[in-house]
């Protein structure tokens, strides 16, 4: 394939190999963030329940 840019041309196989790790790390972080958001929501809802019951 043509190459228009500077040197240090990596191999596509090298990129694909490490791409799997990049995706796995991203998945792990995404799950952690989703859990964090859900935890924040549940904790806040837990504290707000007594207020909601007041009449």
């Amino acid at each position: 394939m043509f190459s228009l840019f500077a040197a240090a041309q990596p191999d596509t196989a090298f990129a694909m190999e490490w791409l799997a790790w990049i995706v796995l790390i991203a998945i792990a972080v995404s799950v952690f963030i989703a859990l964090t958001i859900k935890s924040i929501y549940l904790i806040l809802h837990l504290f707000s329940k007594p207020e909601g019951k007041k009449k």
Binding site: M1, F2, S3, L4, F5, A6, A7, A8, Q9, P10, D11, T12, F14, A15, M16, W18, L19, W21, I22, V23, I25, A26, I27, V29, S30, V31, I33, A34, L35, T36, I37, K38, I40, Y41, L44, H45, S48
Partner: protein, 492 residues
């Protein structure tokens, strides 16, 4: 005294002179981009493309490609202006040559072309520019000419030296806005504050897994484009910078390219923000192609327990989420802070701030964003083979991202027992709130009573989070991978 009428005409109407003196690529490029600018204004006016962005951008493109003049050559070079020096024969003004400098990619080929004057170095080229009369020898003849440097008085994005930046701010009219508000992401942050003020985070808080799953699927373009860009000849840093365009998050792309491929900062800036027009224009067709009408009518299942999130909870969420996300991803701090301050101001009910952010920051930021983008789209900047490759890869990344989002929508459609509209998946592409609005618009076309906007906005915001995740991961890993590759290729 002889009066050279042609010379007077050339000096008076330099926009036309520079166009006539340019090579065929730039000549047609300027004309096509001017017409494209007109088309963008027209399409914005008709509502086919987002008018808030396309009208200033279209005008900017027209001005950038018509308002070209000859600058003082020495000052232009000293000021690091992005220049394209030309030699014009003093006797025969149709004899226009271009310079090619030894060491440039296609020097050997151009040096054989009679339209080009080969020079040994930038130093020699600058010497020609500084000379009052530029003399070249050709076939035993002495030809005298002058060197001219075309440019504009809008902005110069590539200037590095602080002195030159300050000087240019006194000459180029929008340079101050570019340096103080665009290239440091301040405009993007203003826009995010405005988005925060408009958003209701209740749905994201209530359904984070669904939202982040969809947003992750919509990062498919960011994932797939990386090896494709490497296959096209980019190195790892350049490939990652281009792949980030798939996240459709302009500020993340800017930050990523500054860290990973600084020499591509300007073309990636232009391509990354052009997505705003591309997504608005092309995504509706992609949705209609990938999702049959019957499925576009699907109504999202309401939550089992009604989602009731109080304003206090939303403010508390904004504060905690801001802290946690900034802790995990400092790369996204400007955007996270801007977004959550907008949310906090809205939920606190501070109406004066809400009006300031909504009416001044959001619309002002959008206006200057469109205008500066248009002014950056000059033929000289865009008609470069590197930029065209980036444009193609960028469009590829955005298309794959939208497809990935819709595929994620199909997965949720099946998992929810056919009670989730797959069109919402396109909102995972984090062009906030454009993609959420596109999802609602396409659903409303076939089923006006089906409302998907709240869910789509939650997914849209999650797209910002997943874009930050991938930006952070690429910035952390790519330098390490480059070292590993350097060691591996040396060993081989």
């Amino acid at each position: 005294m002889d009066i050279d009428i042609i010379d007077i005409f050339r000096q008076l109407f330099q926009g036309i002179t520079t166009l006539v003196d340019s090579d065929s690529t730039i000549f047609w490029g300027r004309i096509v981009l001017t017409l494209l600018g007109v088309a963008l204004v027209f399409l914005g006016r008709k509502g086919i493309l987002e008018p808030l962005l396309m009208i200033p951008m279209g005008l900017g493109m027209v001005a950038a490609n018509t308002g070209v003049l000859y600058l003082d050559p020495e000052n232009a070079v000293r000021a690091e202006r992005n220049y394209d020096a030309r030699w014009i024969n003093t006797e025969d003004r149709t004899d226009i040559r271009y310079f090619t400098v030894e060491g440039e990619a296609n020097f050997a080929e151009l040096a054989k072309n009679p339209d080009y004057i080969p020079v040994k170095s930038e130093k020699q080229l600058n010497a020609y520019i500084a000379a009052e009369a530029c003399v070249i020898q050709e076939n035993g003849k002495t030809l005298t000419g002058s060197v001219v440097v075309p440019g504009n008085l809008n902005l110069e994005p590539l200037v590095q030296q602080p002195d030159n930046v300050v000087n240019l701010m006194q000459v180029d009219w929008i340079q101050p806005i570019y340096n103080f508000a665009f290239s440091n992401n301040l405009i993007a942050c203003f826009i995010f504050m405005g988005i925060g003020v408009l958003l209701d985070v209740g749905f994201l808080m209530a359904r984070p897994f669904q939202s982040i799953f969809m947003a992750f699927c919509a990062e498919l373009g960011t994932i797939v484009t990386f090896p494709v860009a490497v296959l096209c000849g980019l190195n790892l840093g350049e490939a990652a910078s281009v792949a980030l365009i798939g996240g459709a998050d302009g500020p993340m792309v800017l930050f990523g390219s500054l860290q990973l491929a600084k020499h591509l900062f300007v073309p990636i800036t232009v391509v990354a923000y052009l997505y705003l027009g591309i997504t608005y224009g092309a995504y509706p067709f992609l949705i209609r192609f990938l999702v049959p009408e019957k499925l576009r009518r699907v109504r999202n299942a309401p939550p089992k327990k009604p989602v009731k999130v109080t304003a206090t909870e939303k403010i508390a969420f904004a504060v905690v989420a801001c802290g946690v996300l900034c802790l995990l991803f400092p790369v996204g701090t400007p955007l996270f802070c801007s977004l959550f301050v907008g949310i906090a101001v809205r939920e606190a009910g501070i109406q004066s701030f809400v009006r300031l952010i909504d009416q001044v920051f959001l619309y002002g930021g959008t206006f200057f964003l469109g205008l500066i983008l248009g002014l950056l789209c000059s033929a000289g900047t865009l008609l470069d083979e590197k930029v065209l490759i980036l444009l193609v890869l960028g469009i590829f990344a955005l298309t794959i991202s939208a497809t990935g989002g819709i595929l994620g929508g199909y997965v949720l459609y099946l998992l929810s027992g056919r009670r989730f509209n797959p069109v919402c998946g396109v909102a995972g592409v984090s062009c906030v709130p454009t993609c959420a609005k596109i999802a609602q618009k396409e659903v409303s076309r076939v089923a006006p009573d089906v409302i998907v906007l709240p869910d789509s906005l939650g997914i849209n915001i999650s797209g910002v989070i997943t874009s930050a995740i991938f930006t952070g991961v690429y910035i952390a890993l790519i330098p390490q991978l480059e070292k590993i590759w350097a060691l591996t290729s040396t060993a081989l």
